[in-house]
């Protein structure tokens, strides 16, 4: 399966730390705001769950074809 792209909008992020706690392999807090550990990752539900749970919808996950798979609109 092709890799997913993970993007964090650091302008929108308010640093709740939810993604960095629940999916520490994929997100970390830098100066209080989230950043993706790697831009491209193997598919993992932890990543889409983090995107679905972010109150600011600051995490965008795209599949190998560039289609946004999380968060759902």
């Amino acid at each position: 399966m092709s890799k997913w792209q993970v993007q964090v909008d650091r302008e929108a992020c308010i640093g709740t730390g939810m993604c960095a706690s629940s999916a520490a392999a994929y997100f970390r807090l830098e100066n209080g705001k989230s950043t993706a550990v790697q831009d491209f990752v193997e598919p993992d539900e932890l990543v889409t769950d983090a995107a679905e749970s972010c109150p600011m919808e600051a995490i965008l996950v795209r599949d190998g074809d560039g289609v946004v798979i999380a968060p759902e609109p």
Partner: protein, 398 residues
């Protein structure tokens, strides 16, 4: 680091209005990770440094699920036996949370701002019409968040008399007996179960309806999880904001310089809400413990696997992070308080609470430019023996 021979009793005492017990500050200086003895379940660690608090909240080596059904250190006699979103760990926690997260995003909440504004305008029209003195708890602080959470969840507003009563008891620590507290939780569960049953006959688009669909069509949560989730959202969705509306108004009316500053510049309302969130200790008791699942070092102290940790109420007053932490300052550049928690359990209702507090406080000050307490500040009655602090009654005049 040595720790004292005899652990201090915790909570330090009955919460006094919105004061932070000075013991917190003292412990941060001398023993930032200190041993405390709870009324039930034994000893625990209490934290007073912001960094340690953030670590414990954000680090999965500290578990909430490990408290369920166990005789852990706590302030009230009953052992927590009801699994709820508040005491689940990842990945179970995320499985539940994502089912409703979409309904509570900042974007969705902003769509409710106009509704909240109309509501507050109407409530304050009534206050004005009836004349002074007015009790803001009944006139504004309760109706605003209760109406909004009812509409979001799909709970009939006309049932508020009953569920407010149950909710008040359910969140008691010592104000009611353990039997009364348990029975209040059961009443809330029965009530939500009734609303769930109605949705199985005629489906709805509200949050409860979404959860029922997730259970019946996707089997994504159990029946017990569904009911308890509904209870948690209903209770947490109004108790906290209602009390903070009263607490913040009390803070402003007892800090005339800050009040004048805010009246002169209403654009400061969002920053004022953040600062009042930071400085107002909402918790009225020990709060929720976390259990270390492996040895973790915090400020030079080894917290052993199995140890209970309380985050206390002092993180937001740590001078290492906040200059002049005891002062209310609406101009803090980076106000990264932990009033809504941090990490996986960061309050799902935070955007909603912020919006309601901004609309409520902002409109109140605009509508009543001469608002003041109708009784001396030290005579404002505050609730006792509860999980959250707040005025029982907040009489004001203008």
């Amino acid at each position: 680091m040595t720790t004292s021979q005899q652990p201090r009793s915790y909570p330090f005492g009955e919460a006094v209005r919105l004061d932070l017990d000075p013991t917190y500050e003292q412990l941060r200086e001398t023993e930032p990770v200190s041993r405390v003895r709870l009324p039930y379940g034994g000893d625990a660690w209490l934290l007073t440094k912001y960094d340690d608090v953030r670590t414990v909240l954000g680090d999965l080596r500290f578990s909430r699920a490990a408290v369920v059904g166990r005789d852990v250190p706590r302030a009230s006699p009953a052992i927590m036996s009801r699994p709820s979103i508040l005491n689940m760990d990842p990945p179970e926690h995320g499985r539940l949370r994502k089912l409703v997260a979409k309904g509570f995003t900042m974007r969705r909440v902003e769509q409710l701002r106009e509704r909240a504004q109309d509501l507050v305008d109407g409530l304050l029209d009534d206050v004005e019409a009836k004349g002074a003195p007015a009790d803001l708890v009944e006139a504004l602080n309760m109706p605003l968040p209760i109406t909004i959470i009812c509409e979001l969840l799909g709970v009939p507003y006309e049932d508020r008399g009953e569920f407010r009563n149950w909710s008040d008891r359910a969140l008691a620590i010592t104000a009611f007996t353990p039997e009364e507290i348990t029975s209040a939780f059961e009443s809330l569960q029965d009530y939500i179960a009734g609303l769930v049953a109605e949705r199985r006959k005629s489906p709805t688009e509200d949050v409860l309806g979404t959860l029922v669909t997730a259970r019946d069509e996707g089997d994504r949560l159990s029946e017990e999880e569904l009911v308890n989730f509904g209870v948690t959202l209903l209770v947490a969705g109004h108790e906290t904001t209602a009390n903070q509306l009263g607490n913040f108004t009390y803070q402003l009316l007892t800090h005339p310089e800050r009040l004048a500053e805010l009246r002169a510049d209403p654009d400061l309302v969002p920053a004022a809400v953040e600062e009042l969130l930071r400085i107002t200790p909402l918790g009225g008791s020990a709060g929720f413990p976390r259990i270390a699942v492996e040895d973790v070092e915090l400020s030079g102290v080894t917290v052993k696997a199995g140890d209970a940790v309380f985050i206390g109420q002092a993180g937001n007053r740590d001078p290492a992070v906040f200059d002049r932490p005891g002062e209310i300052d609406f101009h803090r550049e980076n106000n990264a308080h932990v009033a809504f928690g941090h990490g996986v359990h960061h309050c799902i209702g935070a955007p909603l609470a912020r919006m309601e507090l901004q609309v409520g406080i902002g409109t109140l000050l605009r509508r009543f430019p001469t608002l003041e307490l109708a009784v001396p500040a030290d005579e404002v009655p505050f609730r006792k023996g509860r999980l959250v602090r707040g005025p029982d009654q907040l009489l004001v005049r203008w």
